[in-house]
């Protein structure tokens, strides 16, 4: 017994799933993993995968890996959502539905944590990786290795969350794990520990990414790109990353303090011994509210790129757009208390935060009007990215109005903790963040894949998401007014709520259909990649620098670093040629005009460090002392060795650059002719 404890900590066979639905989850997850591993082995893909992907420091490849992990996690978080909808549609009166209360609580906790940390954050960093360096005319991010490490820490966190499907349980304390419920006394199993360590590990990765991209924007812009010539997406990423820099350390501390309480018996947030659980709520929201803007600012940036391109006009009110980003960054730190008006901070405090919350709606409103003004008298092409935008405008405005209702403390006392709130923030996150990222995927993936995504499936996916969303969340607004609280796993038939819950369930099913269309879209686009090939590198008649290089963009991004003289530099370059009555053609420069390019060497250090950190997290969750020691020491040694590693770069000679450029040009010409 003693030996078993030393080797396995608290881990035992009892940790395996205990009911059919949990078994189902575990089997699907492990089965999917085994099938993927076998497929990779069968197609002899391991070597390529390791050499060209896992060890790659190319932000475009790291970006694609982020997107793949996020889409897998979206499937996981979406299944959780379906189960919740199924439970709430069926668990009424005498029927107790498909899930136990305990399991239902795990599922809503997992759904929220996964959707924010491993879907929204992952899609965001994926898109930033793919586009940002290209958009500012840079060859790479400021710290290429750090970027790879961030990604692998993100994967380690995601892996830890998924371990809870198979071994032990997940937190039942909600996506933000408020104490005292999340304390050991009330959550004695490993669930909350899984939550803490998966978020801590991926959160540190996000913090490193925040620093990396902020420094990239400040230091790596090409010549001539003054701040007021930066594309809007770059501006929003700069705002978002500065929020990461200021907000994520607070999350690191909060999670660490909760972990100290749970693992070492400290008393930060306990109900007795001088702990203060209200402090937790303040700390977590001092991170949590800026987090909302961390996610939505880049989505705003994507719309600010998509709308001008698909309207054939420049963005209306560029300066006011920049100022509104800065205003949002500033105010996002002054509204956190609106998440807990009912804590009882007093009328004046609540009034201040209520007013601030309404104030922060103003810069967002400015953006809404500017996008609509951009469309005004434009030659609008209603393609998928634009459809996502139109869906966003309607839903986000409605959700924002619901938010202003909630910002009124007196109203919030009635509406807080109800499904009205759930409907509000899903409207903001789904239509704001997700729709934005989906538009970004359709818009930018051609740049790295070399082919456009299938338009017809893209449209079908959009309509399913839009209609499904309205059906799924419309009823929740009404139910919230009727008094339905969030996190409800059973209710009385006499309340008459069931029909609305069934409508919401149908909506969720339609959203899943939309997700299925998106997967089908990817598959079909890969199969028809020749027909949908982006032969020009500029499939949408774009305005910014990323469209000035061929698709897929070369590893070094730009053979010759661009120099810009205005906002929308690439557009103006094209306009100059068009003014002479010619079509814009990318031309090859003289082979002798190329220069040597210094590139980072691929390295497995990021993945190695992440494996150790994963072991550390898993060891802490299950109280396995030796694994904690191995993980900790391994990570420290690996980081030190990498920090002092020399010879991390290689030089691509001007000759090789010239050859690669000529080959890409020839390829482009032949494909163009075909």
């Amino acid at each position: 017994m003693i030996w078993q404890h030393i080797i396995f900590g608290q881990l035992s066979l009892a940790a395996l799933p205990q009911n059919p639905i949990a078994w189902g989850g575990a089997v699907v997850f492990v089965g999917g993993l085994v099938v993927s591993l076998l497929a990779i082995t069968y197609f002899k893909f391991w070597g390529t995968l390791w050499r060209e992907w896992f060890t790659s420091l190319d932000p475009k490849r790291i970006g694609i890996m982020y997107l793949i992990v996020s889409l897998v996690m979206l499937a996981r978080g979406g299944s959780d959502a379906l189960l919740m909808r199924l439970q709430q549609a069926t668990s009424v009166g005498a029927s107790s539905g498909v899930l136990s209360s305990e399991h239902f609580q795990q599922i809503f906790s997992a759904h929220g944590s996964i959707m924010i940390f491993f879907v929204a954050m992952g899609l965001m960093f994926g898109l930033i990786n793919i586009v940002l360096p290209l958009q500012i005319g840079a060859r790479d991010v400021a710290f290429p290795f750090l970027n790879s490490l961030s990604f692998w820490l993100f994967v380690a966190g995601a892996a830890l969350v998924n371990c809870s499907l198979i071994l032990g349980d997940f937190s039942t304390a909600g996506w933000l794990s408020y104490p005292p419920l999340s304390e050991l006394a009330y959550s004695p199993t490993v669930g909350v520990d899984y939550w803490i360590w998966s978020l801590q590990i991926s959160g540190i990765g996000s913090l490193l990414s925040g620093i990396n991209f902020f420094v990239t924007i400040i230091r790596n812009r090409c010549k001539g790109m003054t701040p007021m010539r930066m594309p809007m997406f770059t501006w929003t990423v700069a705002g978002s990353m500065s929020l990461v820099i200021f907000a994520f350390p607070i999350l690191t501390v909060t999670l660490a303090l909760l972990a100290l309480d749970r693992s070492l018996g400290f008393h930060f947030f306990t109900a007795g011994a001088g702990g203060n659980m209200m402090m937790y709520v303040n700390l977590i929201w001092a991170w949590g509210h800026p987090e909302v803007y961390i996610l939505v600012l880049p989505a705003f940036g994507i719309f600010s790129e998509v709308v001008p391109v698909f309207s054939g006009k420049k963005l209306a009110g560029y300066t006011s757009m920049v100022l509104s980003v800065l205003a949002i960054v500033f105010f996002s730190f002054l509204v956190w208390l609106h998440h807990f008006f009912t804590m009882g901070a007093g009328a004046n405090v609540n009034a201040f935060f209520g007013i601030m919350t309404m104030v922060i709606g103003i810069p967002t409103g400015v953006k809404m009007f500017n996008w609509i003004f951009t469309m005004y008298k434009g030659r609008i092409r209603f393609m998928t990215p634009m459809l996502w935008f139109m869906g966003f405008v309607v839903l986000f405005t409605l959700g924002g109005v619901a938010g202003v209702v909630l910002a009124e403390p007196a109203a919030d006392y009635q509406l807080h903790n109800s499904l009205f709130l759930v409907a509000h923030f899903h409207t903001m996150i789904v239509s704001g963040v997700l729709f934005g990222f989906f538009a970004g995927l359709t818009y930018w993936l051609p740049k790295v894949l070399g082919f456009k995504l299938d338009e017809s499936f893209g449209r079908k996916a959009f309509w399913c998401w839009l209609i499904g969303f309205i059906l799924a969340f419309g009823p929740l607004y009404i139910l919230g007014f009727m008094g339905a609280t969030r996190r409800l796993d059973h209710y009385s038939a006499a309340l008459g709520w069931q029909s609305l819950f069934i409508v919401a369930g149908i909506g969720a099913a339609i959203i899943s259909l939309g997700f299925a269309f998106q997967i089908a879209q990817i598959v079909r686009s890969i199969r028809r990649r020749r027909a949908n090939a982006d032969t020009t590198g500029d499939p949408w008649d774009g305005r910014t620098l990323e469209w000035s290089v061929p698709s897929p963009a070369p590893a070094y991004n730009f053979a010759i670093l661009p120099i810009v003289h205005s906002l929308d530099a690439f557009w103006h370059e094209k306009e100059k040629v068009r003014a002479e009555g010619k079509g814009f053609e990318r031309v090859l420069i003289n082979a002798s005009d190329y220069e040597d390019i210094i590139m980072p060497k691929n390295t497995g250090a990021g993945i190695l460090i992440a494996v150790f950190v994963f072991a550390l997290g898993f060891g802490i969750v299950w109280h396995i002392g030796w694994l904690v020691a191995v993980g900790f020491l391994g990570a420290v040694i690996a980081i030190t060795l990498r920090a002092f590693a020399e010879d991390t770069e290689w030089t691509m000679t001007a000759h090789d650059v010239a050859r690669a450029e000529a080959a890409a040009h020839k390829h482009h010409l032949t494909r163009h002719a075909a």
Binding site: F143, L257, F268, G274, M279, A643, E646
Partner: protein
């Protein structure tokens, strides 16, 4: 910036400046981290303050003097590096390391004394926040010591190469930063308790 032959191009200089700027950004995040811990301490300090807890003023002052001196020697180390003297740099690192290690052992002995007296971090919210705030600083010091050791080895081996110079610069920034955090701890934790 450096008087060594290793800096050659404008590109190198720009890259070094980017790294230094990035490190400043990291230090900002660390400031926010400590700010959160200070806030936590301020909130929980009003809670159950144990009457038995008395900090010894001369002890804490000695700790402070040792840490401030180590910051001074880390500055001297950087000056030695700029004048290109490998031996003095290693000597400076060793001196700073010894002072830092002395500081850390003093902190450890204070911690163990408190724990032996029954005032460990598990006793109350106040002591949890005290140990965590001061301990997190101590943990950073430990990281700085490991870093100094690795730097001394790398410089003794390969000399004042450009990458070693850059790392020395970052380490020195890190060490000064810990000094500043300590000044806040000294004031807010110790002076207010005396």
């Amino acid at each position: 910036m450096y008087k060594t032959e290793f800096i050659t191009t404008e590109e190198d200089r720009k890259n070094d400046a980017t790294v230094v700027f990035g490190f400043w950004m990291y230090l900002m995040t660390d400031f926010v981290l400590f700010a959160s811990l200070f806030a936590t301490y301020a909130v929980l300090r009003t809670g159950a303050m144990p009457g038995s807890l008395v900090f010894s003023a001369p002890f804490v002052l000695l700790e402070t003097v040792i840490l401030l001196t180590s910051s001074f020697t880390s500055g001297l180390t950087l000056l030695a590096a700029r004048s290109g003297s490998r031996a003095w740099v290693v000597a400076g690192l060793v001196t700073t390391f010894s002072l830092g290690a002395r500081f850390l052992t003093m902190e450890m002995s204070e911690f163990s004394k408190l724990i032996a007296e029954g005032s460990g971090p598990q006793t109350s919210g106040f002591l949890s926040s005290y140990f965590t705030l001061v301990g997190t600083h101590g943990l950073h010091i430990a990281v700085g010591l490991v870093w100094a050791t690795a730097l001394a080895i790398a410089i003794a081996r390969a000399g004042l190469t450009r990458s070693n110079m850059r790392k020395l610069m970052l380490w020195s920034m890190f060490w000064h930063f810990l000094d500043i955090v300590w000044i806040f701890i000294f004031t807010i934790v110790y002076l207010l308790a005396l």
